[in-house]
Structures are given as structure tokens and as C-alpha cells.
């Protein structure tokens, strides 16, 4: 029997929550402390609480998984961002919308060092749009490289054919040495402008997590914890600290994603709705096959539309404050914004929740609901269209537990014409790439699974489909 322990931490806006799980995934210890301005102080306080538990030995903790809002905060506050040189590969196409067009002003001027659209990129079937203009890339890199902190490179259809982006990365490294470079095919899927935006945000956010990772590693080391550090992503899976520093954008939206994963762990349900009732607001999400359902619309982050893989969430404008305890402290009674305490407020919140769940369902079948958060207990057992409501033990630590669940993912996309064996070949290619990506993210090669396979027909492109594959794997313990 292994004594390995995993530490999951949620560095939330208000509270820092830590849990220690054993190899069987059982909760061994949990702790919560107020989040502090320096983050580390709150983290260390929670950590010390956990280490006081007789069943938690520092030298048995082998993996530490952290969920943080630091990246989101940096973006919203326009703080600590890098200056980025933006290279797009796609001319003579794509020039109708220049890079960073439409970005809000303080963010654009902070982030944009220089931009160029050069010849290159691919068609959906992998043919070059134009052969990569390496001379222009070299000139641009030489001219602007010294004045910027990082590069963002986006090629047309790079999610299918990444060769041009990789060639540009090696040109940058040959010319300037190891400068940080964000390649769009590692950041997002189809939709050039949204993917480019996400890639530039990613390049601008390089370094935001470096300080945090160093501080957390320091705190762990002084307590005798020699563990691999991971960050939670917005798909509910993990990134190694190293790759998280290269893909900071993927931590945006990781909190709710971790809560959804935590709900899976706490209940064993793979398909359910998860309601996180906070003090003042409530977040609703959907689990499909054990993972957060992904939003189909591009997310808007800091006023920029970016196709980062955000979970499909609904924010509801009621929270635990809408339900105050009655005189006897047993039944629920409302107290919204100094209302007279009529049952109307509670009924209204129930209606909002019922309708929101109904709108997020994919069919009329009744669904199970998992209630989390400080107000989770207020979600009643019987609402229309809801099969059952679960209030799992340890629900207040769901985000930290979700982080500690320790799986990684890989995704891939293809477009295939429906003729001959094109579809089968594209399917095989996409599956292989998704597996490779999951393994590259730290997954156990022996346990990679394809968990999601989606095909959408494309109109006006005589019979063709867009194929999306997602693979997951448990972390490979070294």
C-alpha cells in the first residue's frame, strides 16, 4: 500500500482552502484560512493547519495542485503584463482584421509591442496558403525582439497543421535565444481572431504565475514537502507548473471548473448539474462524463474575445444572503436586501434556479443536482425537472478536491471531407494527437482515454465535418 498523499489548494478570492487526499482519494485532512494580500501567508497558514493533522506527514505529500485567480486578476487590473510581439501567418488572407483590432485601450497599449501579418498558414486540408515568409519573420524578430518580452504566433488552421508556427518559434529562438513564445495551436481551437487574442493574452501573462510558483514552492520546501507543483486549468484538469507558466491563460476560469470536478469526486456522479451557492452569487455548471461542459461561445476576458476553453457556466443573482435563517434557525426564509422576509424571495430564487437548469439541459429528462458552497444547503430537494439534490460531505472544499483529482487532458480538431476514408483517417489523426497532447501534459501513457468525440457537419463545404476529440489521463506518478 502506498502512503502517497496529494495536496489540493484553492487560492480563492476570500478563502484559501486546502485538502489532503490519500492514494484512494479519501479526504485525510482539510483546512481553510482567509486569503491574504500576499497569498503566501494565507497559503502557509492553511498548510500549517493541515500539517498538524497526525495523518499528514510532509514527506508523504508527492503532488501539490493549486487553483488560483491570480492570472484573471492580473488581466482585469492590467498589472504585471508583458509586452508582446505579435506574428500572424496568413497573408495574403486575414489582412482585413489586423492583430488586436478592437481591444480596449489600456490593455492594448500595455500589451502590444509590435505586430506583423506575414505570408504563411495552411488551408483546412493542410495545403499551404502561401509558403512561409521566413525572411519577413527574421526581419521582424530582429527589429522588435529586443524591445519585447514575449512573442505570440498564430497561423491560419494551425490547430490542424502546426508546422508553420513551430518553424517561426525555432526562428525566434535561433535569432534571440530562449525568449518566451506562445504558439496558438497550444492555446485554443478554430476561429483565427479569437485564438490569436487568446495567444496574445497568454504571451502577455507569462511570468504572472512565476512569482506565485516560486513562493509556493518555497513554502512547501521549508516544510519538508518535496512535491511536483501543478496548476488547475479551466477544463478541470491540471498543468505541470512548468507548462502552466507557459500557458497561464488556461488558468482563467479554473475555479468553477475545479468545483465541478470536485463534485464528481464527492458524489461519484459523472453527469449532473452543479450549483455553487456563494454568499452573494450562485454559479451553475454542467458535468458531462465527469468533466465540465465547455462553453460554445467564445469567452470575453478583460474586454477581449478569446477562445480559451471556458466551462459553460451560468451566473445567478442570488446567494446565501437571499436566504436568511428564520426565527428558529431551521426553516428557510428570505431576507433579500432588507425585504420584509416574505416567502416570495425564496420562491423567486427557486424559480430562477429551476429555469436556469432547464435552459442548460440538453433534454427534458430530470437531472441530478449537486449543491456546493456556503449556501448549498438552501437548494431544496424537490424542484421541477430535477431528479435529486445531493449535499455531499466536504462540499465546502470542492474546489480544492477538484484540483487534487489529478488528471490531465489533451485535445485535437480536424476538418474532414466525407468522401473515401477521409473521415476515418481524420478521426484517427485527431485521436492520436489528443492522446499525444494528454501524455505531453503529464498523463500516464498506459491510461489515456478518449472521453469526448464531437462531429459537426459544415454547410457550404460539400459534405464535410468538423471533428473534435478530447483525451484524458491520470497524472503519471514519477
Amino acid at each position: 500500500m502506498t502512503l502517497d498523499l496529494r495536496l489540493g489548494v484553492d487560492l480563492g478570492m476570500a478563502e484559501t482552502v486546502g485538502v489532503v487526499l490519500n492514494a484512494q482519494g479519501q479526504v485525510v485532512a482539510k483546512a481553510g484560512r482567509p486569503t491574504t494580500t500576499s497569498v503566501t501567508t494565507g497559503f502557509e497558514a492553511a498548510l500549517d493547519d493541515l500539517l498538524e493533522d497526525p495523518f499528514v506527514a510532509a514527506d508523504h505529500i508527492t503532488q501539490v495542485m493549486v487553483g488560483t485567480t491570480q492570472v484573471t486578476d492580473a488581466l482585469v487590473e492590467c498589472r504585471g503584463l508583458k509586452r508582446v510581439a505579435v506574428i500572424r501567418l496568413g497573408a495574403p488572407l486575414t489582412t482585413s482584421v489586423p492583430p488586436l483590432f478592437g481591444w480596449p485601450h489600456p490593455l492594448r497599449s500595455t500589451v502590444l509591442g509590435a505586430a506583423a501579418v506575414v505570408r504563411g498558414g495552411r488551408e483546412f486540408d493542410g495545403r499551404p496558403i502561401a509558403s512561409l515568409d521566413t525572411d519577413s519573420v527574421k526581419r521582424f524578430v530582429t527589429a522588435y525582439g529586443p524591445d519585447v518580452d514575449s512573442f505570440a504566433v498564430t497561423g491560419v488552421f494551425s490547430p490542424f497543421s502546426a508546422e508553420d508556427e513551430l518553424a517561426v518559434e525555432s526562428l525566434i529562438h535561433t535569432t534571440l535565444g530562449p525568449v518566451t513564445t506562445s504558439l496558438s495551436h497550444r492555446v485554443g481551437g478554430l476561429g483565427l481572431i479569437e485564438r490569436e487574442n487568446a495567444t496574445v493574452l497568454n504571451a502577455a501573462l507569462y511570468g504572472v504565475l512565476d512569482g506565485l510558483a516560486a513562493c509556493l514552492s518555497g513554502s512547501l520546501a521549508t516544510r519538508g514537502i518535496e512535491a511536483e507543483l501543478y496548476f488547475t486549468t479551466n477544463t478541470g484538469t491540471l498543468m505541470e507548473s512548468g507548462s502552466a507558466l507557459g500557458n497561464p491563460g488556461h488558468t482563467i476560469g479554473s475555479g468553477p471548473a475545479a468545483a465541478l470536478r470536485g463534485a464528481v469526486h464527492l458524489t461519484g456522479l459523472l453527469d449532473a448539474f452543479v450549483v455553487e451557492v456563494g454568499a452573494k452569487a450562485t454559479t451553475l455548471g454542467a458535468l458531462v462524463n465527469g468533466y465540465p461542459r465547455r462553453a460554445t461561445q467564445g469567452a470575453e476576458i478583460g474586454g477581449v474575445r478569446a477562445n480559451l476553453p471556458m466551462p459553460d457556466l451560468r451566473s445567478l443573482e442570488f446567494g446565501a444572503h437571499s436566504f436568511a435563517q428564520s426565527r428558529k434557525g431551521t426553516a428557510q426564509s428570505p431576507n433579500a436586501a432588507g425585504s420584509d422576509g416574505s416567502a416570495k424571495t425564496v420562491a423567486a430564487a427557486h424559480d430562477v434556479l429551476t429555469q436556469a437548469i432547464d435552459e442548460m439541459k440538453v433534454s427534458s429528462d430530470a437531472v441530478p443536482v449537486i449543491a456546493l458552497g456556503v449556501g448549498g444547503a438552501f437548494v431544496p430537494q424537490s424542484l421541477p425537472g430535477i431528479a435529486s439534490v445531493l449535499h455531499p460531505e466536504h462540499h465546502e472544499t470542492a474546489r480544492a478536491i477538484g484540483s487534487a483529482m489529478a488528471s490531465v487532458s489533451g485535445e485535437a480538431e480536424e476538418i474532414a471531407l466525407l468522401e473515401g476514408d477521409h473521415r476515418e483517417r481524420a478521426l484517427a489523426r485527431a485521436s492520436a494527437r489528443a492522446r499525444t497532447n494528454a501524455i505531453a501534459a503529464g498523463g500516464d501513457p498506459a491510461a489515456v482515454q478518449i472521453v469526448d468525440h464531437d462531429e459537426t457537419p459544415l454547410d457550404y463545404l460539400a459534405p464535410a465535418v468538423r471533428i473534435r476529440i478530447k483525451a484524458i489521463a491520470p497524472l503519471w506518478s514519477r
Binding site: G90, S96, E123, G191, L192, E359, Y460
Partner: protein, 355 residues
């Protein structure tokens, strides 16, 4: 009339409504048009009455799957290349541009092309909404052929097809689109001043703008505001109960079941959908059919919902409004764009004729 940057979001929204569920989120198309306006100045719209006698109006469109077009974003000189190629093929300068179909990106991209060539835009379109194919256009109904069909691509190729009718042009355009990477610029029809009245619906662009402005005005009842801007009626407020889809002959076909909510509780509606919303039924009665406009919008915001974005549980309002072109409500018009043209064994029913 001038369309300046602040009006562009309303225009895009109005075009999405007039797309009747076809097309997807025109995010990239709106950026393309915004950039063109930033670079070349506002769009000047002219009315049919103000066309000179020697005017030569080009009806054009971009063709391609939206998933491809949003990745393979067009080049800044796409319009220039197309319009220059038309001038060379016809030996006539283009003096004005008109969108072939006002719906969705169809109402936005030709405006960007006109701006890049310094040309005005005729306040009209050739469908009164959008239909999926080139034969379903008023010029074709009026006996005007797309000859010569001109297709171009920013990378270089220009394809010119002579002696083609609208059916052949449609098949050619799709084949060329696929061969060239899935998204192309297409010169559909060239119109002289005297052909314009029969070949276009006057006022389509300003109508799209009014429709979008009605949604953005944040009225207390945005769906009613939208219906009144369309001169239509709110057929029902409902919840999407079930969506069915299948692909047949390269086109997605499907249906949606709607359950009435609020005052419409107890009603059951069915919409037949392909790229667009085509037929509305209730209890076996036909409430509305193509070519009248059937719009499905978010019940709270009146934002249009594309057929591909339909999903269980959405709270929607169904709004029907009369077809913008009387020419479609004739025997030969209905043969092209009536319910039977889309494979439904139904007669056209005028919106509002059943109460």
C-alpha cells in the same frame, strides 16, 4: 444616408434577424466591416432613385462554411480583387455595390468591399432576406443571368464562367469554393439602372439597421419592439422542448418543438428548419412559411438565435413578418422560394392570414 461606426452593431444584429436563422455569430464579419470603416470612412448608402442612368450595380457575396470563414479570415483586398476582376471581365466599371442577400454576414461583407473600392452601397438587396442558393434571387426571377460569373480569391485565382445560368453558377461556386480552400468572393449579378427595380428589394440595409436598433433600444418588451420594426407579429413565446437534426443532400435539415410559456402555456409549435427557419406549424395548421420571415429570438433580449445555436430549454419568441418582396409571392416566385422549393409538401400561407 451614412452608416458610421456607432451604428455597426445594430446593423449586424439586424442582418442576423433578416438571416432568419441562417449563418452563425457574425463576430469576425463585424470586425472586418469595422476595420474597413476605420480605414476608409463611413458607408454611404444611396437609394434607387439616386442612381445615375449609367450606373452599374454589382450584387456580390462571400461564400463558405462559417467555421472555415472565421479561421481563414479574408484579406483586406478581397473586395478590390473581385470588383477589378468584374470590371475587366465585363469591360464596365462598377459604380455601386449591393449585397446579394441581406442576412447575416451577407449584409456586412459586401459593404466592406464597397468601402475598400471607394464605392457607395445601394440601400437594397437581391433577396429581401437570405436564401441558401443563387437561383433564389430576384435577378434570377427577373430573368437576369449571372453571366459572367466572377469568383476570386485573395491568393490569386480569378475564375470567370460565361454562359452560365443561376443553377450552373450555384454548382460552380460551391465547387470552386471547395477547390480554393472553402471560402471565396463571388460576383453574383451585374445590374444596370433599369434592371435594379425588378432585381432588388429597396431599403433592405436601412431596414436591417432599424431592426437592430429596435433590439438595442432596450425597450421593456424588446420582442414586441422587434416585431413592430419588422411589421410582424409575435407568434408565441415558448421554450425549446426538442431539436432534431439530420444531414440530407449536403444540407442540414431538422425541426424544433416549442412549448408555449406564460400566456402561451399549453400551445405546441413545430418549426421546420434547414439553414433557416422555413415553416411554422401548430396543431397541424400552417402558421407561416418561407418566403415570409420566421425569426426565433431570445425571449428576454430579442437577440436572434441561429438554427445551429438552437438548444433544449432556450426561452424564445417566434416572430413572423411578411416577405419583403412582393415578387416572391407569385407563382414563379414561390417555385423558387416557397415551401415546396425546400422540399415541404405545403402551400405558401401568408403571415397573419390565420388568426
Amino acid at each position: 444616408m451614412i452608416i458610421d461606426p456607432p451604428k455597426l452593431p445594430a446593423l449586424a444584429l439586424g442582418c442576423a434577424v433578416l438571416g432568419s436563422g441562417g449563418g452563425s455569430d457574425p463576430y469576425t464579419d463585424l470586425l472586418i466591416l469595422r476595420q474597413a470603416v476605420d480605414r476608409h470612412g463611413p458607408i454611404s448608402l444611396i437609394d434607387v432613385e439616386n442612381l445615375s442612368d449609367d450606373a452599374f450595380v454589382l450584387a456580390c457575396s462571400s461564400i463558405g462554411a462559417s467555421a472555415v470563414a472565421s479561421e481563414r479570415v479574408m484579406g483586406a483586398d478581397a473586395g478590390h480583387r473581385l470588383i477589378d476582376a468584374v470590371a475587366a471581365a465585363r469591360g464596365t466599371q462598377v459604380t455601386c455595390v449591393v449585397p446579394t442577400g441581406i442576412g447575416s454576414s451577407g449584409g456586412l461583407i459586401p459593404l466592406a468591399w464597397a468601402l475598400s473600392c471607394g464605392l457607395p452601397v445601394l440601400d437594397a438587396d437581391c433577396m429581401g432576406r437570405s436564401f441558401p442558393s443563387m437561383p433564389q434571387t430576384l435577378p434570377n426571377l427577373a430573368g437576369i443571368s449571372p453571366d459572367p460569373l466572377v469568383i476570386s480569391d485573395e491568393r490569386g485565382p480569378v475564375v470567370i464562367a460565361r454562359d452560365v445560368d443561376a443553377d450552373a453558377a450555384e454548382r460552380l461556386a460551391l465547387g470552386v469554393a471547395q477547390a480554393l480552400g472553402g471560402a471565396i468572393s463571388c460576383a453574383d449579378f451585374g445590374l444596370t439602372r433599369h434592371q435594379v427595380p425588378a432585381a432588388t428589394v429597396s431599403g433592405s440595409i436601412s431596414r436591417a439597421l432599424r431592426v437592430g436598433e429596435a433590439i438595442l433600444a432596450e425597450e421593456r418588451t424588446p420582442c414586441n419592439a422587434l416585431a413592430s420594426a419588422l411589421a410582424g407579429t409575435v407568434l408565441a413565446r415558448a421554450k425549446v422542448a426538442e431539436v432534431g437534426r439530420h444531414t440530407q443532400h449536403d444540407r442540414s435539415r431538422g425541426w424544433v418543438h416549442l412549448e408555449g410559456v406564460g400566456d402561451d402555456e399549453g400551445r405546441l409549435l413545430r418549426l421546420e428548419i434547414q439553414n433557416d427557419y422555413l415553416v411554422a406549424l401548430e396543431d397541424g395548421r400552417v402558421l407561416a412559411t418561407v418566403p415570409d420571415l420566421i425569426s426565433v429570438v431570445d425571449e428576454r433580449t430579442a437577440n436572434p438565435i441561429a438554427t445551429e445555436a438552437l438548444g433544449y430549454g432556450q426561452r424564445v419568441a417566434v416572430i413572423t413578418s411578411p416577405c419583403a418582396a412582393e415578387a416572391w409571392i407569385t407563382q414563379s416566385g414561390l417555385e423558387l422560394v416557397g415551401p415546396r422549393a425546400f422540399g415541404y409538401d405545403l402551400d405558401y400561407v401568408a403571415t397573419g392570414s390565420i388568426s
